[in-house]
Symmetry: C2
Subunit: 445 residues, 2 copies
């Protein structure tokens, strides 16, 4: 018998592999940080000698979620301003609050808090567009989750960068430091076509190509953005980005509503990726991303929650359900984005967009053991004709019981193992009290 | 000090009254089955002497959800067939399965199972369109929940009724038996314009008006239905129902997609109600109900989960979040259906459609004590700028900890008090095994 570290045996294993298998009574065998083999439980227990045996007879194992777009620290602004149009929400609420409060300490506290919520809902890798990337990196490393850090580049001064050049330098510094790290994955995060002018874009794409660095950007978030680009640049945002040479397999385009056939053609031809954030798009009335049309053209579509200030949670199970339901209505076709494909959006497709599909995103031998256990034994999950249907259409975040990243257990029977939950909650409440007091003082003036 | 039965003291009370209050550190005082008063906790504890004091320092109290459209027993078909167009789903999967399996025993078992899920997610009153109403009534009475039973009337033979006249007689028998009951509320449930011809409609409206009985029907579920009506009757379904005299404040129209201005005008003028089922409409690609437009015309819009065979859960918290998010995108206005209004859809508006707004649907003195406690103390609910924002946009069903209907506690710290959960689960699994075996036998033939 071969010595291994862990055998996790479950009622179902949903590997999200190419053949979209659903395996019954199988085990995931883990050695160091990687999956050694996935095989029938009765065979696993005779072939391998593990240090730790975990039996989950009412659970399904799935790959950890890859939350491919968000703003982690903004979780501290959850529910601060709702039911407002995107530009009102940004101009009157979010940007003033960020101007007043965002600091390295805010980012560290907010990111740590967000990571707690993400681990508890089955996310094992997230993408973050925000400020003070080194603070984000430290929180990622302390918690044990994986994170793609998109360093913000924007025409106007931001926390941590007075100019676009400083933003670019921040991104390069972070990339130099972590380029070989499997947990911290730094990339460029130019904010959006309407907030970044041509010169910074040209510098970014030059550096990105020279060093093989990825880029994530908000693109086509609203029709207003598209109209503004036509007015300012004489072309639609996607055409402008394409003409600047920004599109390609290194490019992660977030949101992507208000698309015409030519836009879709350009994205498909260049092999750019699309980060779909359905709940944020709905709540901000941004528009509909035509997921089905994009998939028909072979475009890789991933899933993101966006920030909890607009969503208002970091729950990939809920986001996946919304994506699967909404895609059908938008396509006017109930066969669009079936359950297993929605699960692929939330896992392997995210890994592909990060050029990491050989390392995580599915449960397969040789990949990192980024594994999530979903409890399907309670009343709300009965009866079970198809576990994948339930995971997508009828599961809530509290059913995530256990989470491993690179074989290390970060959630054990609903308890965080690397983060102190009561401190996370207390810190969030402290920030909220400061923010409310600050608002009251401003109102008094 | 006045003797009362219960004082429930909570961090927040969200009564969903006319003035849309959010009360901090208030208590709901209960005597027998009714709310006596809602007042500050410190005052409540000096004014009243309760048999039972319940302190919920991290919770919000809200009125119980009124799930205004569903098919409870179909929860046994949860996840049996997904990702299919409405008529394929009905013709190839649901109707054959119903033909084979639906019996009084199936309805009793399925309804009991569904009631368990509904109580656990904060529903205190549901509407049911299905068969064998007396079995449904018995399950309602045993569990302690409230239920509106819409007895099915349809042109073709169904379980329990060979003809439309038998369906009508079933409805009348149930109404005679329970017309004065506050828990069992029988009404007419003609299936849909495309499955009921003019003669049964005429009989129904005559009896409804003579006896003051309400009517619930699927109307304008899809564009196909509208097109079919124009072809068969030379008019749109709503115009046809109006010409037959069916519309009015007694009429509950379910789904209501594919509406034009004239349709909306007729609904508004007649005072008919609209049951919005957003997740079912999305998942079956049925279309979009223009909630914002309906509300602008003063139409009462309520919320329903539809059956768990199409949704795939009976979770009003999830449905409310989807409704609030989707309304904004459909209206192209992020201010559409703000959080507190979404909560009204899910509570008081449902009660209004049942002509019971003087009895339940909000937390107000004199009404039945149908109260739900939502735990907002955990990480996913922090920080709290506005508890109603969190209830609508960031809460999942497991945060419902306690439920009272008419002052009786049906859920206590997540445990069902009137239903045996392990038996509910075991029975659902038994039915699933029968159904799967039946399908295999059919396939072998």
């Amino acid at each position: 018998m071969e010595s291994v570290h862990k055998i996790i045996s479950a009622r179902w294993v949903v590997p999200v592999n190419e053949s979209r298998d659903i395996l019954e009574n199988h085990s995931v065998v883990i050695k160091e940080d990687k999956i050694v083999e996935i095989l029938k439980t009765e065979e696993a227990l005779t072939k391998y000698q593990p240090d730790e045996k975990i039996a989950l007879p009412g659970h399904a194992l799935i790959p950890g979620f890859v939350n491919s777009h968000g703003h982690a620290a903004m979780t501290l602004f959850r529910g601060m301003a709702d039911d407002l149009e995107l530009m009102t929400w940004l101009n009157d609420h979010i940007w003033p609050a960020e101007g007043k409060w965002v600091s390295p300490e805010f980012v560290a506290d907010g990111t740590r808090f967000a990571i707690g919520e993400m681990i508890r809902s089955g996310t094992t890798c997230f993408s973050d567009n925000y400020f003070y990337g080194e603070e984000v990196a430290q929180e990622i490393l302390k918690s044990g989750i994986r994170g793609q850090i998109c360093s913000t580049v924007i025409d106007f001064p931001t926390p941590g960068a007075e100019t676009p050049d400083e933003g670019i330098q921040n991104a390069m510094d972070l990339w130099e430091k972590y380029k070989d790290n499997d947990y911290v994955m730094p990339i460029f995060g130019p904010h959006a076509p309407y907030t970044v002018s041509d010169e910074p874009f040209k510098k970014i794409i030059k550096l990105a190509k020279e060093n093989n660095i990825l880029i994530q950007m908000h693109v086509h978030e609203t029709q207003t953005e598209v109209d503004g680009s036509i007015e300012q640049y004489g072309k639609r945002p996607i055409k402008r980005l394409h003409d600047l040479g920004l599109l390609g397999p290194h490019m992660q385009c977030v949101h992507m509503t208000a698309l015409n056939e030519e836009d879709i053609e350009i994205i498909a031809e260049t092999g750019s990726h699309v980060m779909h954030c359905p709940e944020s798009n709905l709540k901000l009335a941004s528009g509909f991303c035509p997921v089905h049309k994009l998939q028909e053209k072979g475009i890789n579509v991933t899933l993101g929650t966006d920030g909890a200030a607009s969503n208002n949670d970091l729950d990939m199970l809920g986001e996946m359900r919304t994506a699967a339901q909404l895609a059908k209505a938008v396509a006017q076709n109930a066969e669009a984005l079936p359950a297993y494909e929605a699960l692929a959006l939330a896992t392997i497709n995210g890994a592909k967009s990060m050029a990491k599909e050989d390392k995580f995103g599915s449960l397969e031998a040789g990949k990192f053991a980024d594994v999530v256990a979903v409890d399907l034994s309670d009343l709300e999950s009965q009866p079970i004709f198809d576990p994948v249907s339930h995971i997508v259409y009828a599961t809530t975040r509290n059913q995530v019981t256990d989470v491993w990243v690179g074989g290390k257990q970060l959630l054990a029977n609903r308890e965080l193992t690397t983060l102190p939950i009561s401190e996370l909650i207390a810190t969030a409440i402290e920030w909220k009290e400061k923010i409310v007091k600050g608002r009251e003082q401003t109102a008094e003036k």
